[in-house]
């Protein structure tokens, strides 16, 4: 593909790796800079930007910024909120969306094709176009909780979880995957007397490891990175996720060391998760591409 004017294969190889490495630096240096800067006092952080030191953990290295960041904002609480909202949404979402996908592929019911068309149509509705009317809607929805009946979902976990459990892409991905499972298997289990729930739970789901991983990763990324919705529905910091908590660090005289520390705290879990499961991550993104 990328022809060079030389016939020397070693030289060509070296040039190829150099190009690849230079591009890699573009992607890696800002993230590296963030992590290294989180370890430095502000003065040094600013001075280091003019040299390669910006990307190296040298000089006055400490975790002081982390300590200060934790003092400035209830980061632990924000983190727990994020993990709770993301975790619950992902688990319930996988259940609900795989059940819907199962129903669309293996069961035959009236209205199925219309329902599936509606689900496909939602794929071209960006969340941003429904966020404003939904804000009004959730502010008026009823709720029956442990402490009785109430109106309005603002400032709660449920307002961050329930609207995002079901989504068109996840249902679609499950349906695509289920289509390729051998139909004979489902028939055989029905003949042996399995109920539909047993077919779903004991036969189909155990065969769906790859698509469950894919859907979980996509949903996790989408939920953990939610921003527009939580800034509108969590005025009380008690329910805020980590990204909204960042607003503590928005002031004009930004303490950049602390900001970098907080950014690192937010990023490291996802990055670690990604590096541990790279193949699954990349496979999940790739699978969104086969729908064309």
């Amino acid at each position: 593909m990328f022809q060079l004017d030389t016939d020397n294969p070693t030289l060509r190889l070296i040039v190829r790796y150099m190009v690849l490495t230079l591009i890699a630096l573009i992607f890696v240096t800002p993230i590296l800079f963030m992590m290294m800067s989180s370890l430095k006092p502000d003065q040094q952080l600013l001075a280091d930007t003019s040299s390669i030191k910006a990307f190296l953990p040298i000089g006055d290295i400490s975790f002081d910024n982390y300590k200060a960041a934790f003092e400035r904002a209830p980061i632990g609480m924000f983190m727990l909120n994020s993990l709770l909202v993301t975790g619950v949404t992902v688990v319930l979402g996988l259940l609900v969306c795989s059940m819907a996908g199962f129903s669309f592929v293996f069961l035959n019911w009236r209205g199925k094709s219309i329902a599936f068309s509606i689900i496909l149509a939602t794929l071209i509705v960006p969340f941003e176009t429904i966020a404003i009317p939904m804000l009004l809607m959730v502010s008026k929805l009823p709720w029956l909780g442990l402490d009785g009946f109430s109106w309005g979902w603002l400032n709660s976990y449920r307002v961050q979880i329930i609207p995002f459990i079901a989504d068109g892409l996840t249902i679609f991905l499950f349906a695509q995957y289920f289509k390729d499972l051998p139909k004979e298997l489902i028939e055989a289990s029905r003949i042996e007397g399995c109920s539909w729930w047993q077919v779903y739970w004991r036969v189909v789901m155990p065969l769906s490891g790859p698509i469950i991983a894919t859907a979980a990763i996509l949903k996790f990324l989408a939920m953990y990175n939610q921003y527009l919705w939580p800034i509108m529905v969590t005025q009380q910091e008690q329910y805020r996720p980590v990204l909204v908590g960042l607003q503590y660090f928005f002031q004009l005289n930004t303490a950049w060391g602390e900001v970098m520390a907080y950014l690192t705290i937010i990023t490291v879990p996802v990055l670690a998760f990604y590096l541990a499961l790279q193949r699954a991550f990349i496979a999940s993104i790739a699978s969104t591409g086969v729908k064309g």
């Binding site: 992607f27 035959n108 509606i118």
Partner: protein, 359 residues
């Protein structure tokens, strides 16, 4: 006869399995979508003691109305055109026409969007919601630049990492890394990188040019702010589309490449006649996905510029949120959301049409 014996009717079971997911989607996607259209025709507010009233298309006209005002230059008593210090014609202030002037009902309350001269006259394009007009233009500009550039760069990266080289997965993983970092984190990080005084980008450019580079306040300058946000957005998301291109590349049969090689095709010919035709469907998908993401531009603006400087980075979603949430004007925000949806819809239909299978 039915194709498949298990596909007899199972209305109850089918509904039981589908209803949790489908019901939630109706409640939280379909209904809000219908409400967006409904609210946009009323004066609905977030908290209001009064019931909302139907107002027709008023929200849309308030937002999208433009008028043209042709202004004659000012003349002195003897009929000569007055000129200012630079030798340009002097014109009366537009305020005279837009404020309480019954002779010009079509531009009442409007503000000047831009103007140009036409002979001796000045033609001013007036807009009733100037900020929204800027947001609309900025959003379209953002899409017009980001969609092709990000799509093309992602394809180049995909071709690079599709080479059979040892350790190529490491590069693939690195190029993809920014995708898993939240755009909010990225935006705040790049606010420092773009900083006018101590910013990393200025320092790096300064070092690379041996001190010849004059520091730029990338986000504080209305000529560079939107471009800077574009560059950062591409940096963050390009790895995502690289993977989609890559999965498209890997569906192309290796025998086609072998055939091209035997025929003695140049690398460009191989790309043009083997690779690219095999990527048609992928291309439609990549462009539609990038376009949808680009139209939804919000977090970057909220974290980096709040729409400034001088509204040069206002976007439709940022305006919709400022209206609907900030000013609690649900109807105005909904109208903007509907305009955004129509844009997304028409552009995806256009793209599908342009990239349709040609027989």
């Amino acid at each position: 006869m039915k194709k498949n014996s298990i596909l007899t009717r199972h209305n109850t079971t089918g509904w039981l399995f589908a209803s949790p997911g489908f019901g939630l989607m109706l409640l939280f996607i379909v209904i809000p979508f219908i409400l967006a259209i409904a609210f946009s025709l009323t004066n609905q507010r977030l908290m209001s003691p009064n019931a909302a009233e139907f107002v027709g298309l008023e929200n849309y006209t308030n937002m999208l109305d433009v008028g043209i005002l042709v202004v004659d230059p000012e003349i002195d008593a003897s009929g000569n055109i007055l000129v200012d210090k630079n030798g340009d014609n002097k014109y009366p202030r537009l305020r005279k026409f837009t404020r309480n002037n019954p002779d010009y009902p079509n531009v009442q309350g409007m503000k000047e969007w831009f103007s140009f001269s036409w002979g001796e006259q000045k033609v001013a394009i007036m807009a009733s919601d100037l900020v929204f007009m800027k947001a609309l233009v900025n959003t379209l500009t953002f899409v017009a630049f980001v969609a092709p550039i990000q799509g093309a760069l992602a394809l180049i990266l995909a071709l690079l990492i599709n080479q059979p080289l040892r350790g190529i997965q490491i590069f693939r993983s690195i190029y993809f890394m920014p995708v898993v970092v939240s755009i909010v984190v990225v935006s705040l990080l790049w606010r420092f990188i773009y900083d006018g005084q101590n910013g990393l980008l200025n320092s790096v450019l300064n070092t690379l040019t041996f001190g010849h580079f004059k520091a730029v306040d990338w986000l504080g300058n209305q000529d560079t702010a939107l471009g800077s946000i574009m560059a950062m957005s591409i940096w963050q998301a390009v790895g995502f589309h690289m993977i989609i291109w890559l999965s498209g590349l890997q569906t192309i049969s290796p025998t086609l490449y072998e055939a091209a090689k035997i025929e003695g095709a140049s690398p460009w010919q191989t790309f043009r006649y083997v690779t690219w035709p095999g990527l048609r469907n992928t291309a439609v998908l990549v462009v539609i996905v990038i376009t949808m993401q680009a139209f939804s531009l919000f977090a970057q603006i909220d974290v980096m510029t709040s729409g400034g400087p001088l509204d040069s980075t206002q976007t439709i979603v940022y305006q919709a949120v400022e209206r609907g949430y900030g000013k609690q004007d649900i109807s105005g925000g909904s109208a903007m959301s509907v305009v955004l949806f129509l844009l997304v819809l028409s552009i995806s239909l256009l793209q599908r049409y342009l990239t349709r299978e040609k027989n």
